[in-house]
């Protein structure tokens, strides 16, 4: 167990360092930072002085260490396009993305798990077949197409829900703005989180169904039935509990997926979150922003995977002993 943790921890640190290195290379070597800061009429002597002042003449390792130090203290540079601190920009947009992601995850789990259990227990029924065919569409339809179809139906034709933006937001202190406290905010949240959660919901539904079917085939379930236990107890108390163990860890990993797909949904619905920020950064070659985002996602994903690994080894004793079973990373 200790070895596993150490292993994963060192891997996490390595990934973040590599991402930081790529970031640093981007910022330092793409374009000339001095050119971006002084005017055209600056003399060579001025430029040399500025170079010295910015510390651009120091050895590369020293600059990298300084970059890491700054990043650790929250100074991630200044965005070319917005002319603001990158960290301030990220902090400003983070609540929007988090709210969207959490809502989508809730929809995916609260709908996906029951539907998966139901289709497993009622195999072959017409409703099950319809749901499974529908889930195939959910996988074949790209997220942005789902979003556009929703906009078409609910905004253009029916006019029930807004198609873009976040509605009215309320600042609840600490820089956190939330749309959950206003009616227009909640209305604006429905379509994006539904779009984002639909794909994950079909995945979770299929996963829960597959796991449940496998568990139902095991011997201990047969013996439970043979002992005369009621169907309800067999299905939910025994089968479902065992199903949920790998499902929980997969759900944890899917949170990272939701974060990635939120970029698409934010672009479709013009949701002012981190995803839209990075797309604009790419389109306008806003290098500091892009580099900071790279380090941010490397850190996020490495931490998510570390947490999921630790969780899984805590739940499943076979993994702790280095046994045959391990997390099924799909």
């Amino acid at each position: 167990m200790g070895m596993l943790v150490l292993n994963r921890l060192s891997q996490t640190v390595l990934v973040v360092l590599v991402a930081a290195l790529v970031s640093f290379t981007l910022i330092r070597y793409v374009g000339d930072p001095v050119n971006n800061m002084v005017g055209q009429s600056a003399t060579l002597a001025d430029r040399a002085a500025m170079r010295q002042q910015l510390g651009l003449d120091d050895p590369v390792l020293v600059q990298f260490a300084r970059f890491l130090n700054d990043a650790a203290h929250g100074d991630l540079g200044i965005s070319y396009r917005y002319a603001q601190q990158v960290s301030a920009l990220l902090k400003e947009r983070l609540p929007a993305t988090l709210e969207l992601s959490v809502c989508a995850m809730l929809i995916a789990v609260l709908l996906g798990v029951p539907l998966g259990v139901w289709t497993a227990l009622h195999r072959g029924s017409v409703v099950s077949q319809v749901l499974l065919a529908g889930s195939l569409m959910g996988i074949a339809l790209p997220t942005f197409v789902i979003g556009i179809i929703f906009i078409l139906i609910f905004s253009v034709w029916l006019g029930w829900l807004p198609a873009f933006g976040r509605g009215a937001v309320v600042d609840i202190g600490g820089g956190w703005t939330t749309g959950l406290l206003t009616a227009s905010g909640i209305k604006a949240l429905i379509l994006p989180s539904l779009t984002l959660g639909l794909f994950q919901m079909t995945l979770i539904m299929r996963l829960v169904r597959a796991e449940m079917l496998e568990v139902m085939r095991t011997d201990f379930i047969k013996f439970a039935r043979a002992r005369g236990l009621a169907n309800v107890i067999v299905n939910y108390d025994h089968a479902l509990r065992n199903t949920l163990v790998p499902v929980i860890t997969i759900i944890g990993l899917q949170f990272g997926n939701i974060f990635a797909f939120s970029i698409i949904v934010e672009t479709v619905f013009q949701w002012p979150g981190l995803g839209l920020l990075v797309i604009q950064a790419i389109q306008f070659s806003d290098v500091p922003l892009l580099a900071a985002y790279l380090v941010l996602i490397a850190l996020c994903f490495a931490l998510i995977n570390l947490a999921v690994d630790l969780l899984y080894s805590a739940i499943d004793p076979r993994v702790r002993r280095g046994g045959a079973a391990g997390p099924k990373t799909a």
């Binding site: 390595l14 790209p142 078409l152 797909f261 698409i264 672009t267 797309i279 998510i304 990373t329």
Partner: protein
């Protein structure tokens, strides 16, 4: 004892039998082939040339499907905001999606298989390094990897270099996110096969290592690789259209299903739904067909499901 038994014809194989008896497989393979042929022959099939900006007539912009243009052109699927025929744009966009999809899958497969063979056969440090990189990469979603690689290489290039290199960069970015599956599967197969007698016999009789790998180990991996490649193709096509929709994929001068959908997105509220929805329908059809072929292939080639 001296009776000659004819070699089994491929027509009698399990795979063909499975195919002939599965309507889903027949329909999805047929649809995929039709779309492939239409896309490949885009220059011949499309009624109007979409790449040449001189052909488009802005007066004919945003006409509904079935409308007549000013100079008597018949627009089966309507026109886009610049007056380009939607049917032709979709056909050329289909060609682009198939080109990028097939290329990135081919590249990912070649690199992945090679790394998997090396990793499985030689083991040791190469194996450890390759598998560690693969593990790390698997913790990130494919679309994010493709987006980041594409985005970062964009910022490194200036405008006209970018125009010329956009598509190769896109292909590289997408294949970089897919190679891991091939490597892992091939490595698993090699690890199983290399302990078997025929491989040991080949080694002992002095067959050169590359020959062992190519003639003995590689053919065993081709079945599962084909299944992965088909499912990957659907994903690659979707990834390309997603990146084009986001504006960071194919350059705007080239038609792509994703960028057509993006252009049409702005006109949804004006009631011009066809600019967005028809390319979307074609994209979904293609992705669904390829997905179904991949699913069928996986079930047909799965030895555990065979009744034998």
């Amino acid at each position: 004892m001296s009776e000659e038994v004819a070699a089994p014809r491929w027509r009698d194989s399990d795979l063909v039998h499975d195919f002939v008896h599965s309507p889903v497989a027949i329909v999805s393979v047929a649809v995929t082939l039709i779309l492939l042929v239409v896309g490949a022959g885009a220059s011949f099939v499309a009624p109007y040339d979409v790449i040449n900006p001189a052909v488009a007539n802005v007066i004919d912009a945003r006409l509904p499907p079935g409308a007549e243009g000013l100079a008597g052109q018949h627009y089966w699927l309507g026109t886009d905001p610049q007056g380009r025929d939607m049917l032709s744009a979709i056909i050329f966009g289909l060609r682009m999606s198939l080109l990028v999809g097939l290329s990135s899958v081919a590249l990912a497969a070649v690199v992945g298989i090679a790394l998997g063979l090396v990793s499985g056969y030689f083991g040791g440090l190469a194996d450890a390094v390759i598998m560690r990189i693969a593990d790390v990469q698997l913790s990130f979603p494919a679309i994010l990897i493709a987006l980041m690689i594409d985005g970062i290489t964009r910022t490194l290039m200036n405008r006209d270099l970018h125009e010329r290199l956009a598509i190769p960069v896109l292909i590289f970015a997408i294949s970089a996110s897919f190679w891991v599956q091939y490597a892992r599967v091939v490595r698993g197969i090699v690890l199983v096969e290399r302990g078997k007698e025929y491989v040991l016999a080949a080694k002992v009789t002095g067959v050169a290592t590359p020959r062992i790998i190519a003639s003995h180990l590689l053919p065993n991996a081709l079945g599962p690789v084909l299944v992965i490649a088909t499912i990957n193709l659907a994903l690659a096509i979707l990834t390309e259209s997603t990146l084009s929709f986001l504006g960071v994929g194919v350059p705007p001068t080239q038609p792509s299903l994703g960028s057509l959908i993006r252009i049409g997105n702005e006109f949804l509220f004006s009631g011009n739904w066809w600019i967005s929805m028809i390319p979307a329908a074609v994209l979904v059809l293609l992705s669904l067909a390829v997905n179904l072929v991949g699913d069928w292939l996986r079930d047909a080639l799965n030895p555990k499901l065979s009744t034998a």
